[in-house]
Structure formats: C-alpha cells, structure tokens
C-alpha cells in the first residue's frame, strides 16, 4: 500500500466478535474485504476476545466491566470500530456507558468508544455511503432481523439496500422476520425448551417463505437457526450477510460440511 492512500482512507478497527472469531472466521475476512472495498484501512488488534455480553446477561457487572475496559483500551486509537454483529455493537454503544455510570473517567472513555462504534452494514451505508457491492449470489434469500440490531440500532434497510446490489440475489421477506429466534446467548442453554420452541417457529416461517437461503447480521442467531434447520432436515442454506456481500459463498454455508459440497 502506498502512504498517500493510507492518509486519505478512513481508518477502522475491526472488533471480530467472539463467535465469528472462534466459529466462523470467514465473517471476519468478509468484513475486512467489504471495509477495504469501501475505502477503509482496517486494523485487527490482537487484544480482543468478546464484548462481555455473556457476563452482563448473567448479571456479573464486575466481570463485564473488566472486559469492557479491555475493549475500550484496545480500540482507543482507532477512528472507527466496526463489528459484524448488532448485539455486540449494542453492548458497546448502550451498555458500556451505563456500566460506568458512577465512574466519570471511564464513562467518558466508554462514550467515546460508543460514539465511533458501528455495525458493519450501517457503517458501510451511512458513513462510507457505499451504494453497491461487487458480488453474485444465485438464490432466493430471506433476511432475519436480529433483535438488538433492529430495535436498539435501527438496522433494517441498510443490509437490504446492499443486498439489492448483489447480482442474482432475490430478497423475499418471511413472516415474523423481526421476531426473536430464541437464541438469547446463554438463554438457549439455560431454557432449551422455550428456546427450541422459538427457533422452531422461526424455522417454520423460513420454510413457509419458500426461500433457499437465510441471511442475518448476527452469528449467534444464525448458529441457532442453522442448527435447528439442519436438525429438521430443511434444505435451507444460512450465511452471514457479510459473507454474501463480500462474495464469499463458495465454501460451506453455516452448518454445512465439506461433504455437502
């Protein structure tokens, strides 16, 4: 890269999210590719693990604060922080400042991080004003609106706008696309019966819509839905929206094996 380009381009730090990091790294590579396509310089700091949601949702504020401080320090130098997950961004933007309510110094740092942290598709559309992507996907897709992204961050049109530019992709909305899939992090393990019922309802809606692919912006939801679809034997492929937008759909979809290809 030449130095002029670095100076003029927008600098972002990528918050990979624990699930993408551990289970589906391709989402991280897709996010980097899209950000670079939009003209960003991407830094991926090694000092990152998770945003702390499992601790926060378990009521453990001390542990969450420790993790939040690490995230705040890790990304202090970046102009923007991007994550391909609505729920992690909601945690950083809305929960961190609240955690440090009684600590003026860290509250200020938390607000500064919140102010520059964006979910991937909303950043691409609203900040980078990306109009279209260079990708092809041959399929009829439905989009599952993840709860935190939709209701806390207002992410609805942005991924759809970008998906509209994917050659060959037809978007077909399913019923109850804004209803929770039943993942809820540890909820899915603590209350498996209720969670199963909710994800079964989601899968029924996917089925009724007649699509061949389900997309979404949060890997947690997608693991849950893909896992249930596979158990039910439903022939629906599941991808993170970033993978489709970046054209990284040649390999196995979520829950597909090498033997499926």
């Amino acid at each position: 890269m030449n130095s002029d380009k670095i100076k003029t381009s927008t600098q972002v730090g990528l918050f990979v999210t624990c699930l993408a990091d551990l289970i589906r790294p391709q989402i991280g590579f897709a996010a980097v590719a899209l950000l670079e396509q939009a003209g960003c310089t991407v830094r991926v700091p090694r000092n990152q693990t998770c945003c702390g949601q499992p601790a926060l949702n378990s009521g453990d504020s001390a542990s969450t604060i420790a993790i939040a401080k690490m995230v705040i320090k890790t990304f202090a130098q970046d102009d923007y922080v991007i994550a391909a997950s609505g729920s992690c961004v909601d945690t950083i933007c809305h929960k961190y400042p609240e955690l440090f309510r009684n600590d003026a110094l860290w509250a200020g740092r938390a607000r500064a991080l919140a102010a520059k942290t964006w979910e991937l598709t909303s950043f691409l559309v609203e900040v980078m004003e990306l109009q279209q992507v260079e990708a092809t996907y041959d399929g009829v897709c439905s989009y599952h609106d993840s709860c935190s992204g939709l209701r806390e961050l207002g992410i609805h049109d942005q991924p759809r706008q970008l998906l509209a530019s994917v050659v060959g992709l037809e978007l077909k909305e399913m019923n109850e696309n804004n209803v929770c899939c039943g993942f809820g992090g540890l909820f899915s393990i603590k209350y498996p019966d209720i969670s199963t019922r909710m994800v079964s309802d989601k899968c029924a809606n996917v089925g009724h819509s007649g699509v061949d692919t389900l997309l979404g912006g949060d890997l947690g939801c997608l693991l849950n839905i893909a896992g249930r679809l596979r158990r039910e034997g439903a022939p629906v492929r599941v991808f993170h929206v970033a993978e489709v937008l970046a054209g990284m759909t040649d390999g196995p979809a979520i829950g597909e094996g090498e033997s499926d290809l």
Binding site: F29, V44, R46, N57, G59, I194, R197, G227
Partner: protein, 476 residues
C-alpha cells in the same frame, strides 16, 4: 438456596407442561398474530402515535414525581363526592377492608368487574371464605373462575383456552341452569354467558371493579371495557367498591384523553374500547339510580418502595398487555407458567418487586432480551433493560446458582487475557473441527445437551480468525 432451587424446578416444570399442553399451544397460536397486526393497523391510522406515547410517558412520570400530592387531592375529591377512600399497605389489609365493607352491607352476592389488583390481593378466596358468593362478570374472568383457574393474561384472562374447552366448561356449569345444549359458536357462547350473568347482576349487593385510571381533579375512577359488564357491576348493586393500585392516579381529564388514546390501541388495536366509563361516587339526590355507597381501596403492596429505586418507570404501566402480546416467550408458554398474577415482560419485572426476588429467580432470566416489549410499550417502560437490571440485582444478592456464577467469572477472567484465551481455545476448536468438519455440524456435544438435544451445532472452522489473520499478516 433450596427454596430458590425448588422455585427453579417449579418454573421449569410449568414451562415444560405448557409447551406440551396442546390446547394451550393451539389457543396461544391463534391469539399470537392477531394482537400484533391490530396494533400495527391502529398505529398506522394515528400518525402522531409515537408523540402521544411520549406525552403519556411524561404524564405518568409527572404523577409519580408528585404522587403524594395527587393522591391526597384525589382522596379529597372522592370525599367531596360522598365516597370513602381506604388506604391499604398490604394485600391482606386491602382484603380485610373489602370484606368489612361487604359485611357491614350485609352482602351475600358480589359481582366483580375485571381487576388485576383484586387478583394480586387474592380477594375472591378471602370473600368466599367469609361466606360470600363472588361472581366474575368479565367473560374471560368468568371462564377462568368456572375453570378454577387464574387469569393468564392481564387483558385477555382466558386467552390460553380453546373454544372447544370453553364449550365443555359452559356445558358442565350451565346445564344445571337449563342451558342443556352444547354451544360452540363464539356469539352463542357470549350470549349464554350474558344470559347467565344477567341474573346475577340484578341480585348482587356489592359490585367490585378495578380502575384503569383515577382522576385527581374530579375524583372519578375510569374503567374501559368491551363488554359493558363493568358498568353493570358499578351501577346496579347497593355498594360499589373500587380496588386500585396507588399508581393509577392521574391529574386531569385532559391527561385521561391522552392516556386513553394509547391504551386501547396498544392493547387490542381499537381506537377506543367499547365502553369508557367514569364513576365519581355514590348516587346523588338528583340521580335516579346508582350505588348508595362508594368506596375506593387504594393498594400499595410494595409500590411506594418502587418510587425510590431504579424501577420507578415500571409504575407507569397502564396494563395494556402489549408487552405480553409481543413477547415470544409469553407466546410460547402462556401466562400461568410465570407463576404469579402478572405475566409476560411486565410480570417478570413486577413480580420480583412486589412478591420478592427470592421466589422469582427464573423470571428475569427466562427472556432473550429481544426488546420487543420495550419497543411496543405505550408509556415507554424500558422493560428489557429492567429485566437486565433484575439480573444484576440477583447477582448482587447471590440468588443465581453458584456454579453458573463461577463459570462466568472464570470465563471472564480468561477473556480479559487475550493471549491465554486464544491459546486455551485452540485445542477445543481444533477438536470440534476435526470431529465435525465433514458433516458441518455436531449432533452431540458433551455438557451442552441444552443445545444439541434439539439443534445441531455448526462446526467451528478449526482456527480462530485472530490467529489466521495474524499468521497471514506476520507479527503486525
């Protein structure tokens, strides 16, 4: 710890039972979309709906900040109108007050309009123990009373029942009254209940209703119904008793008009409920009818404690039921699984506050924090945030299982040490990948049966993104 554990088992048992109850599942499935779609239509027809919600929130916030003053003003107006106000610190006190009024009136038959506060007081059992015949007159309440149950929804008490179940229930109880045919159609069922209840309305000595609002400037209690049963309960008997929580007071009729605009739209998607009635005391000399005596029993039962803490916004609740109607957990398990009077998101917030944290550990946790409740609340109660707040409070009080707390603490300790975390994760990731990469998912994972009993787990890639990235980029 054991009490907590047994409560936990009880909640799990109740949810399991509900999920296997085919009648309940059928009834809830039918109700599910209707409320949501009707609310959306009502919202679409009122462009200023969101601004009206803000105004409704502000009215309730103003009242809660000045609650003592408005309650005193309200009491003064009720007295001026010839009624009496009784203050009850606890549910037991409130029941005693109502029972004493009934006794003094030599009452034998009591009709009741729908009142969740009276459910909170367990009033019916107290009055029945005192020898009174108590008849619920709201159709849904009447159905659950016949079935010996409690309401499973704050505005649709019998939403968990199928029409077939109601047919059987009516046949069982009404055939001895001469209604020997099994009626199956909705309208016929309503007419049969109406016909049975009409007889009770005219013989009742005391009528007990709740209050949707108490208007301080006039001393009126306001009830909204779709059946008119509340009016027959309020106006026909000799004595009218209103049971209400202290948070129900609002300053003025102007405020009432704002709150009514959001209430029915949020609840049933109606612009207004069929009947909106204001009652301001006993029969005056110029009135041709109406009760001879008018009593208001104001219940605290933990509400004043909520004023001071971080849960004050919950006192804004106008009991519309929108959060229940939009909650996917409520829709899956119904109201009875929650174990107390109030269910759904508002119940999971209220129950620990009114009934104690120790006995309701599951409620705030049996939630995905999907935020739909918060998004639809007409008075903008941040319900899902309050549920998260409950979890923090539970943790502080050490109410959640010790082992779970230890696991989360240990995981967080590792998660704040990225190099250690990345090192520790490498082997399990590789193992899971090795085990499942050909099939793409694992059908069974030890100690994760909660997930894999009903779902496959998509196989991890084998090497984390961070490790792949940094080995590709060198030591950057």
């Amino acid at each position: 710890m054991s009490a907590v554990a047994s409560q936990k088992v009880a909640f799990r048992e109740r949810t399991t039972r509900a999920l296997r109850d085919s009648n309940l599942q059928q009834a809830m499935g039918k109700a599910r979309g209707g409320f949501v779609d009707k609310r959306l239509e009502a919202m679409a027809a009122l462009p200023e709906f969101d601004e009206t919600r803000d105004a409704a929130r502000d009215i309730k916030d103003h009242v809660l900040a000045n609650l003592d003053g408005y309650l005193e003003l309200y009491e003064q107006k009720v007295i001026e109108n010839g009624g009496q106000v009784h203050w009850a610190r606890t549910a037991e006190e409130a029941c005693q007050i109502v029972a004493d009024i009934c006794k003094e009136a030599n009452a034998q038959v009591v009709t009741k309009g729908k009142s969740m506060v009276s459910e909170e007081m367990h009033l019916n059992s107290v009055l029945e123990a005192a020898g009174l015949k108590v008849v619920e007159t709201d159709l849904g309440e009447y159905i659950v009373q016949l079935a010996g149950e409690t309401p499973s929804h704050i505005i649709a008490p019998a939403v968990h029942k199928t029409r077939e179940q109601i047919t059987e229930l009516f046949h069982e109880h009404h055939s001895k009254l001469g209604y020997t045919d099994r009626v199956t159609q909705r309208e016929a069922l309503v007419n049969e209940a109406r016909s049975v209840l009409r007889g009770t309305f005219v013989t009742a000595d005391v009528g007990i209703t709740g209050a949707n609002f108490l208007v301080a400037e006039t001393g009126a209690n306001v009830i909204v119904t779709n059946e008119g049963n509340g009016d027959l309960t309020s106006s026909l008997p000799r004595v009218h008793i209103v049971t209400a929580g202290i948070e129900k007071v609002i300053p003025s009729l102007d405020d009432l008009s704002v709150l009514l605009r959001v209430l029915a739209r949020s609840a049933t998607g109606q612009e207004m409920s069929a009947y909106t009635s204001l009652y301001s005391g006993p029969r005056q000399d110029t009135d041709s009818e109406g009760p001879e005596a008018y009593h208001v029993v104001l219940l605290d039962n933990g509400r004043s404690t909520m004023l001071g803490g971080g849960y004050r916004s919950m006192l804004r609740c106008i009991r519309c039921g929108a959060c229940l109607n939009h909650c996917p957990v409520y829709s899956a398990i119904g109201g009875h699984a929650y174990g107390w009077v109030y269910s759904g998101p508002m119940g999971s917030v209220l129950t620990p506050l009114l009934n104690g944290f120790d006995d309701s550990v599951d409620l705030p946790n049996a939630c995905t924090l999907n935020g739909r409740c918060k998004a639809v609340c007409p008075v903008r109660i941040p319900l899902s945030d309050l549920l998260l707040k409950h979890r923090l409070e539970q943790y502080r009080r050490r109410l959640t299982p010790l082992f779970g707390r230890f696991l989360v603490r240990a995981w967080a300790w590792v998660a704040t040490r990225p190099r250690l975390y990345q090192g520790l994760m490498a082997l399990p990731l590789w193992l899971m990948h090795w085990r499942g990469h050909r099939r793409g998912a694992l059908e069974h994972i030890p100690f994760a049966g909660g997930w894999t009993d009903s779902r496959d787990f998509p196989t991890p890639a084998g090497r984390s993104f961070i490790r792949q990235w940094h080995s590709r980029k060198g030591k950057s």
